[in-house]
């Protein structure tokens, strides 16, 4: 067994992500997919810190740190500026957290993709404002504890469906990915690179500190999120063609995923049952919408 993954290493050691953080993994894979002719834009997030303090940088591509709400807009300007200098082929990759994407940055993002700016927007979603100390965002799942949704009042709203929002913009390419499936993630980034226009990647990136999980289990959690269908891996072209890219080998109950995380420790069995029901519904909807003909292997075996 070996992986179809580039040897190129554009993320340096010494970055200051917490042990077991999914965020540097997502960037490492994305840069493997894109190569050196890339400009990375980092929206205010954990990655603003992870990248290292002045005068050091972890990314071995040009990197622009930018303000919270500017992920879509700065990228538009950078792309235009590079093109003005004749650098048509340079890929612009915006990296933002869920706060910068689902909340404060959604306006600029929506506008940029509506204009179909030629860039890739990658949201690494750890489901709360982790850098500021675990406050809820609109990406925080129902029932989760954060410092602003304490155990007595855990989050009472479902996670915003960002992919649906992006797909509703009819952009050429939208996809989900997660760190446990680097080949899938890399393939999607490469596909995104090959398409002109706006591309949105929603990457689930576990946060041991905020999820109250073991650092060693980040990949495991990422995989369980997919196998439990809490975070299915799929892609959407032009807002219409849905395609599941990784079918769970065997569906696992959401409980297996939730119970490894302290942020869900307070959930009662009936709460978990409710989550399971929602996940089942959403998964069924996704399967129905997906182009089964393009699914690898025997789909029905997955159930």
């Amino acid at each position: 067994m070996s992986y179809d993954v580039s040897e190129s290493e554009l993320l340096a050691s010494g970055h200051v992500a917490c042990p077991g953080c999914g965020a540097p993994m997502a960037v490492r894979y994305a840069l493997k997919a894109l190569g050196e002719n890339t400009v990375l834009i980092v929206v205010a997030s954990c990655w603003s810190i992870i990248a290292g303090p002045f005068p050091y940088t972890a990314a071995q591509v040009p990197l622009l740190h930018t303000l919270f709400a500017t992920g879509g807009s700065v990228a538009s300007g950078v792309k235009a500026g590079l093109e003005a200098r004749g650098l048509q082929d340079t890929t612009v990759l915006t990296l933002a957290g869920d706060g910068g994407t689902f909340d404060i940055g959604i306006q600029a993002l929506s506008a940029a993709v509506e204009r179909n700016e030629d860039f890739i927007y990658m949201c690494y979603d750890n489901e709360a404002y982790m850098n500021t100390g675990i406050q809820r965002s609109s990406a925080t799942p129902w029932g989760a504890w954060t410092t602003t949704t304490p155990v007595k009042h855990p989050k009472d709203q479902p996670k915003k469906d960002m992919v649906a929002i992006m797909a509703a913009h009819r952009i050429p390419y939208t996809a989900t990915a997660t760190i446990a499936y680097p080949e899938d993630l890399i393939r999607k980034v490469q596909k995104a690179k090959s398409i002109r226009g706006s591309k949105f990647l929603h990457v689930l990136a576990p946060c041991p500190s905020g999820w109250k999980s073991e650092p060693s289990q980040s990949v495991l959690l990422s995989r369980l999120a997919v196998e439990s269908c809490i975070f299915p891996l799929y892609e959407v072209e032009h807002g219409e063609e849905y395609r599941i890219t990784v079918w769970p080998k065997a569906r696992v109950p959401v409980q297996k995923y939730l119970r490894l995380q302290g942020r869900f420790a307070h959930l009662r069995d009936e709460d978990i049952g409710r989550i399971q029901e929602n996940v089942d519904d959403e998964w069924q909807k996704l399967v129905t919408r997906s182009d089964r003909a393009k699914a690898p292997g025997n789909v029905d075996q997955a159930f």
Partner: protein, 582 residues
């Protein structure tokens, strides 16, 4: 190399916060309180192999297409891969974790594939290590004797093998029929041992034309005389003409001597000798061959595949029956009186004890009866042992020569092994036993003490790999990385065709199938260069060269433990940093 950048004044600084240094300045390894350490653990197959083969490792080499390296790795431990790849009951496969996901790896078939490879490099000699003048005599050219001879010869010892019969190979030649073990395979592997300079003296039987005095001339002696004596049926008429013991029958067949089988053959027993005798009798022209066994099929000690093949070839099986009298006419057998059995309470072996069913006697017409109820060591030579110049005779235990973990008998310098000392009854066990003796003799001849050998029911290694003794079981594996995949089955010649001759029954696997097996192998506990650790390291702290030689860069590893958690085969452990600081 220093990555630190320090601006002494603003003049040295850029006009704006632009960073051109790398975070390599920041040795995040200081955050760590546990560290990942590559530590290969033991695979169940390795534990199970009586010959001590490093199966996990050579399957890994096969997966990389390194067939000759894989073959040489087997030859480190076992000079008979061609034999064992065919006749071993492969306990390794019984333990194989793959059994849970599509069927155990067909290890014996991979071994056979490697052994049968054309153009294989000769077995490798090791740097000579023998003390000047040290010589070793080995009695018996079965797998134990030749394994011992092989290991010592490789180490530069002058070795003389004494064989009672005119042909080398012991049970491998005299007991196992050619349709299971083609003679050219055996001949080639023995010839390779001989080429190491081992002196082979055939026709020298201990206690007959080989005396203890002859052996005294050697610095050390290894006795591996095997088990030559068939157990008696212990019923009336047993000495009638037409009754021939299983081992004797097979020896005659295998040496090409004329054998009369008549039309109806009955074989008594449920072991491999019984199967071999029954199938050989069929091939010699018997019209019906019936195997009588006093327990049920489930208790049969024979290799299950052998039983199936025998059935496919038309051998009849009668279970829960046992002969009580050989019916004779003019001193020759004409039939067999049997009684039906039923299974009672479990006996000392854990199997249910067969008990006769009163009034169930019946008669069977039989031309030749072959009892194959097991065998024993023929230790008649011991009667003359002490008289031959040695102070005392060798001690016995449970009908076998007494031995310690270092294969030493009750007499210093006399080592014993193989079936006459261990009674395990397989080629692989004998190979392991001979190797054990060789390693012990090597130490003995260097005047080293012989403590520390593994117990007799555990295997020894000639070229041990650094392995954590912890065995990786199915539940330990990271199953996310493995899919259910079927075990390939080899082709067999059709029963109708193969039962007419002694040509090999079972084909080997082709290269594609062998690759499939090597890739199906979980490589339990042994890093096989899958890159999972490298791929998932969030700190880009794992390097490797060509999918091997993985190194953790402890300058940066934060000790998150993802590599150890994800390692599909548990070849990484997390260890407390405090332990390393000491």
């Amino acid at each position: 190399m220093t990555y630190q950048i320090s601006f002494r004044n603003e003049g040295e600084m850029p006009d704006l916060p632009v960073s051109s240094g790398t975070t390599l300045y920041n040795t995040t390894g200081t955050w760590r309180y546990v560290r990942p350490v590559y530590r290969n653990k033991t695979s169940p197959c390795n534990v199970a192999c009586p010959a001590g083969e490093d199966i996990a490792q050579y399957l890994g080499l096969v997966a990389k297409g390194k067939y000759q390296e894989a073959r040489l790795r087997i030859l480190e431990e076992n000079p008979f891969p061609g034999v064992c790849g065919r006749v071993c009951p492969h306990p390794c496969e019984s333990e194989c974790n793959r059994a849970e996901l599509g069927g155990s790896i067909s290890i014996h078939m991979v071994e056979r594939f490697l052994a049968d490879l054309a153009g294989g490099a000769p077995v490798q000699r090791l740097p000579s290590n023998a003390p000047a003048g040290a010589t070793v005599a080995i009695v018996g050219s079965g797998p134990a004797g030749l394994s011992c001879a092989y290991q010592l010869a490789r180490r530069g010892y002058p070795v003389t093998v004494f064989e009672a019969w005119d042909d080398l190979g012991g049970t491998m030649r005299l007991g196992i029929p050619a349709y299971r073990l083609p003679r050219h395979v055996l001949d080639a592997e023995i010839a390779a041992i001989a080429r190491l300079g081992v002196e082979m003296c055939t026709g020298r039987r201990l206690g007959d034309n080989l005396s203890t005095a002859d052996l005294r001339a050697f610095s050390a002696v290894f006795l591996a005389v095997g088990q030559q004596k068939s157990r008696a049926l212990e019923v009336a008429g047993e000495d009638a003409q037409g009754v021939v013991a299983g081992l004797d029958f097979l020896r005659r067949v295998n040496l090409g001597m004329p054998v009369e089988v008549g039309a109806r053959v009955a074989v008594v027993g449920g072991g491999n000798t019984a199967m071999d005798a029954a199938r050989a009798a069929l091939r010699l022209g018997a019209q019906t061959v019936t195997v009588l066994y006093r327990r049920s099929r489930y208790e049969m000690p024979a290799i299950a595949e052998e039983v199936q093949e025998a059935q496919d070839e038309g051998i009849c099986f009668e279970f829960l029956t046992t002969p009580v009298r050989v019916l004779t006419e003019d001193g020759a057998i004409r039939g067999l009186q049997c009684v039906r059995m039923q299974l009672g309470a479990p006996d000392g072996t854990g199997r249910r004890r067969p008990e006769p069913l009163a009034g169930s006697e019946y008669t069977l017409n039989v031309d030749v009866l072959i009892p194959a109820l097991g065998q024993e060591a023929d230790l008649a030579f011991l009667e003359h042992w002490a008289g031959g110049g040695l102070a005392q005779t060798l001690s016995m235990a449970n009908g076998l020569l007494e031995t310690d973990a270092a294969a030493q008998s009750s007499q210093t310098g006399i080592f014993v092994g193989g079936d006459s000392a261990t009674g395990f009854g397989t080629v692989a066990h004998a190979v392991g036993s001979g190797k054990r003796a060789a390693l012990a003799i090597d130490r003995y001849l260097h005047g080293e003490d012989l403590n520390g050998f593994p117990a007799l029911d555990q295997h020894v290694h000639a070229a041990p790999r650094d392995l954590d003794p912890a065995v990786v079981r199915f539940a330990d594996l990271n199953l996310a990385y493995f899919e259910e995949l079927p075990r390939p089955e080899p082709k067999q010649r059709p029963a109708i065709e193969r039962k007419r001759d002694f040509a090999e029954v079972t084909d080997g696997l082709d290269e594609q199938q062998v690759q499939q097996e090597a890739h199906r192998c979980f490589s339990c506990g042994t890093c096989n260069g899958c890159d999972t650790c490298w791929l998932y390291c969030p700190d880009v702290s794992i390097s490797r060269v060509d999918h091997s030689d993985y190194q953790v860069n402890y300058d940066y590893c934060k000790g998150c433990g993802i590599c150890a958690q994800e390692c599909p085969r548990r070849a990484i452990v997390m260890e407390e940093e405090l332990k390393w600081k000491k």
